[in-house]
């Protein structure tokens, strides 16, 4: 026995190995909170910088959600203070509906409390731990409780000190008392260790900057550990349309999800369950499904077996459903993106495009929005200066968003970044994307964002999503190209004019010497000729540019057409091959 254990220890390297019985016992004793404690990596809480940004995300997206649901234009203030090395206090204050004494515990002191199963709507979503997770993390790293002040429209505000019982996964309210203060909203103060504030692309400041861009109806105020205050003003005066919760489309469902839904349904037969709980399941579709399954559709859905559920999912795949409704999506919109980018990025040129919603994998509605900002404060600083002009050299900045949430991590593994990198920028007058003063905004919204992992920081490349992104970027890039070309033309014209007039003065001196005519008179005549020439050139260039642009447009159309045909051909080719086999 002793020997055996020893070997196992060596193999495992993680300390004593537990038997199955011991494991089961431990699992019972340990609550979800303990599980969380042991699995920080899986919950996206790795890295001191990333953890801090994730905490800010959890609080801020809670605030945004709460405000929007109550029809309040959000105003959120975030303050991060450094207490000592790798020890920080975070304060987040909003003007939302606040929490009542009754809801306080569940909202901030119980893990997994609010999470509903598979809501088919466009949501910000947690990136891992939620606000209760933050309470938990605070306790774990500092042993301290969090402080909350909440005021609702109906009740006078109260102050609470609370934490979480990690074994029971229950809130632990230490102190709660009413305070005499005019306040509506929620303010949370929590302390964390093993985190680090650092400026840069993955910092809380950058997270908030991008959040402000994607949420132009929110005012966000940030005070960093050095006391520096940044205010992102609101550029939209109304709350965006609320996304509508839609029934799941049969093409976008798994066996496990189907079974869970079957347990909760009001339907008494499988046929009525499918018809009422799913989108686009009409009589015709139900009939088609019934032909492809081996059991009776009149069966009670609550008694459906795993194998039966598998059969239904299989039949879903071959059934022709109408594509899911795209009505539930709520895009930011071109005007709002334009206004917020103008306010925050202050570019010289900007092109914004919101595509029409469409569907990927046959079952999920999605939509993409892109914007390309050029010049001004676009792009990120390289820290280097151009030797000739003395101006700072900018590098391209790609801002990724999923359902209005900025994605700051895992850029390399994200389809949104790949779509940007994959565009042939040279065609649009950008010789080297990496060194271009560009900010590229890419937003995907969907009832179901196809994240690559539990960290929810990267989107996987679905064919239809990639195609939509490509078309959107192409259109936006073309527009930017036109603006840049126009600017270059203007600059060139100005330079030419300067050049000609400069030399005209010299020629006038020489001609005066040679002909005896008055210098001023000669110069005047030269000026007239220069201006006449430039006007003529401008007219010709504009005509040429228009022609080129029309040609490019025609070319793009043709290419899109070709690609469609190519896909069809490819598919039919595969079919033919299948036939031969």
């Amino acid at each position: 026995m002793v020997e055996e254990k020893k070997i196992s220890e060596e193999e495992n390297g993680n300390g004593p190995v537990l038997t199955a019985e011991q494991l089961a016992k431990e699992f019972k004793e340990h609550s979800v909170a303990e599980f969380f404690k042991k699995n920080r990596q899986m919950l996206g809480l790795t890295g001191k910088i990333k953890t801090l940004t994730t905490i800010v995300h959890e609080y801020v997206s809670n605030s945004l959600d709460a405000c929007e649901e109550s029809g309040i234009l959000p105003e959120i203030e975030i303050k991060i203070s450094e207490l000592s090395e790798e020890y920080y206090e975070i304060m987040v204050k909003d003007n939302g509906p606040g929490l009542t004494k009754e809801t306080l515990g569940k909202a901030l002191g119980q893990l997994l409390a609010g999470t509903k199963f598979h809501r088919m709507m466009q949501m910000r979503g947690q990136q891992g731990i939620g606000a209760s997770g933050c309470t938990m993390l605070s306790l774990m790293t500092t042993g301290k409780q969090i402080q909350v002040i909440s005021g609702t429209a109906k009740h006078s505000p109260f102050m609470a000190e609370m934490t979480i019982d990690p074994k029971k996964n229950e809130p632990k309210i230490i102190k709660i008392e009413e305070i005499k203060k005019e306040f509506t909203g929620l303010a949370i103060k929590a302390k964390f260790k093993e985190v680090k504030y650092q400026k840069g692309e993955q910092s809380p400041l950058e997270y908030l900057r991008r959040t402000a861009i994607a949420n132009p109806h929110a005012k966000i105020i940030f005070i960093d550990p050095f006391g520096e205050k940044t205010v992102f003003e609101r550029t939209a005066k109304t709350i965006p349309a609320k996304p509508i919760e839609v029934k799941p489309h049969p093409k976008g469902i798994t066996v496990d999800e189907l079974l869970t839904m079957a347990k909760a349904t009001q339907g008494r037969k499988i046929s009525s369950f499918l018809k009422t709980d799913f989108d686009r399941t009409g009589d015709k579709a139900i009939e088609e499904i019934s032909k492809n399954i081996s059991f009776d559709m009149n069966k009670d859905p609550k008694k459906m077996s795993w194998e039966e559920a598998e059969e239904i999912i299989k039949s879903f795949k071959t059934t022709n459903f109408i594509a899911p409704s795209t009505e539930g999506l709520s895009a930011i919109g071109e005007n709002r993106i334009e206004a917020s980018l103008k306010s925050i990025v202050k570019p010289e040129f900007l092109s914004v495009l919101t595509r029409k919603p469409t569907v990927y994998k046959g079952g999920f509605a999605f939509q993409v929005e892109v914007a390309i900002a050029y010049g001004g404060n676009s792009g990120k600083s390289s820290g280097e200066k151009d030797e000739q002009t003395g101006q700072e050299i900018k590098r391209v900045e790609v801002m990724r968003f999923a359902n209005r949430v900025p994605l700051l991590f895992d850029a390399g593994g994200c389809a949104l970044s790949r779509a940007v990198q994959g565009l042939d920028w040279k065609r649009y007058g950008i010789k080297n994307l990496d060194n271009a003063p560009l900010t590229v905004f890419v937003h995907m919204l969907s009832v179901h964002i196809p994240y690559t992992g539990a960290g929810k920081q990267a989107v996987s490349d679905e064919e239809e999503v990639m195609e939509e992104l490509r078309l959107a970027l192409m259109q936006a890039a073309r527009q930017i190209m036109r603006s840049i070309a126009g600017k270059r033309r203007l600059e060139e014209k100005e330079q030419k004019k300067k050049l000609f007039l400069k030399y005209a003065t010299e020629v006038a001196i020489a001609l005066h010497e040679l002909t005896g005519k008055k210098k001023d008179e000669i110069e005047k005549k030269f000026h007239a000729i220069v201006l006449k020439k430039l006007k003529l050139e401008e007219k010709m260039e504009k005509e040429l540019e228009q022609k080129t642009d029309e040609e490019i447009a025609a070319e793009l159309e043709k290419e899109a057409e070709k690609e469609k045909k190519g896909k069809k051909n490819k598919k039919s080719a595969i079919k033919e091959n299948d036939g031969e086999e």
């Binding site: 010299e506 010497e513 030269f526």
Partner: protein
């Protein structure tokens, strides 16, 4: 003579003013100003069989003020023309380097110079010469000259008379203007002119008093000769009917210099009738000499790729089409060697003056 000069100057000024007036008339009529100039490239020259010199063809190009690529040159061209007018009016003569400095200034309200380098103003002088059909000397401009000459003759330069038999080891420095109005040749007693490519070799000939023993005039342009040396040789040839022999390195560069003396150069093709001496004959060196005079192999030099390239270009020139030249080129290519004049010293320090040259002249072993 003074009246001649004055009349000539008046004519030159008229032409320069004409250039200015032409531009003024264009802008006065609201037209885009441009100056028409003869094209001075290989594509627009031809070998005139009658005069046996290189001549300029009739292709022209327009230098346009409103063309970004031309505008600076256009400005500079008018500045050069007006500056030359000033010089003539002051009755002065300046070097082309003086002219460059006179023209160089900072353009008002900029940090740009009207001219950055003499290489910018020199070709514009040639543009003006060729488009107005005037000689450099008529523009009161002097190219720097570097050549020297000695021989049994006298030169009257203004009030001074110079005896070219008494010039010591240095020889008489040829002035930049050798036009008859300025330089008079007197008491010439010589049978031929020997044009030597290199100064060091010329010095050997002068030290050995070759010109005295052989009744000739020896001249060098110290490499590529300038206009003055070529003009003087032409005058000696024309006015005294003296044959001209060229003594150059046996390499493509020496042979090209010979062709410039004889037929003229591409860039000055517009005035070669006043500069070239078609009677010139090539006395040496040749690759053939290596065999004839049993010159040791070790003093020859291998042709490099640039030599071969130049050789191939020259082979196709109209004025090198003679059978003898084509044979010489073929031999040079075949042997892949070249030979410097100094290499003959291997056979003895006076071999070149006492053996090589007299034998060549005696046997009339020339290339045309």
């Amino acid at each position: 003579m003074a009246d001649d000069v004055k009349a000539k100057d008046a004519e030159v000024i008229k032409r320069l003013e004409g250039l200015g007036k032409q531009v003024f008339d264009q802008i006065d009529a609201g037209k885009e100003p441009s100056i028409e100039l003869p094209v001075r490239t290989l594509g627009n020259i031809f070998f005139d069989r009658k005069s046996k010199t290189i001549k300029l063809g009739d292709k022209t190009s327009q230098r346009q003020f409103l063309n970004i690529a031309h505008t600076r040159k256009f400005m500079q061209t008018t500045l050069v023309a007006s500056e030359i007018k000033k010089i003539i009016n002051q009755n002065a003569t300046t070097s082309i380097r003086d002219l460059y400095y006179a023209l160089k200034h900072t353009i008002a309200d900029t940090n740009e110079n009207s001219f950055n380098d003499q290489s910018e103003s020199d070709p514009l002088i040639e543009d003006i010469e060729s488009s107005l059909d005037l000689l450099r000397e008529e523009l009161h401009l002097a190219a720097s000259s570097k050549g020297v000459i000695v021989g049994n003759m006298k030169i009257k330069d203004g009030k001074d008379t110079i005896d070219l038999t008494r010039m010591g080891s240095g020889g008489w420095g040829i002035p930049s203007n050798v036009e008859p109005e300025r330089i008079e040749i007197k008491d010439l007693d010589a049978e031929y002119i020997l044009f030597i490519e290199k100064d060091a070799v010329w010095k050997r000939f002068n030290e050995d008093a070759f010109w005295k023993k052989n009744r000739c005039v020896i001249i060098t342009g110290r490499g590529q000769p300038s206009r003055a040396e070529r003009r003087l040789v032409q005058r000696l040839n024309n006015e005294y009917n003296l044959p001209v022999f060229a003594l150059m390195d046996a390499d493509p560069w020496g042979m090209y210099i010979y062709s410039v003396i004889k037929q003229g150069s591409i860039s000055l093709s517009y005035s070669e009738e006043k500069l070239a001496t078609p009677d010139t004959k090539y006395i040496g060196l040749t690759v053939k000499d290596v065999e004839t005079f049993k010159i040791p192999k070790e003093v020859t030099i291998k042709l490099n790729h640039l030599d071969v390239k130049r050789l191939n270009e020259m082979k196709s020139y109209e004025w090198f089409k003679a059978k003898e030249w084509q044979e010489e080129f073929a031999l040079m290519k075949e042997k892949a060697i070249k030979l410097e004049l100094e290499a003959l010293s291997k056979k003895g320090i006076r071999f070149i003056t006492e053996t090589y040259l007299p034998e060549k002249i005696k046997s009339k072993d020339f290339l045309p």
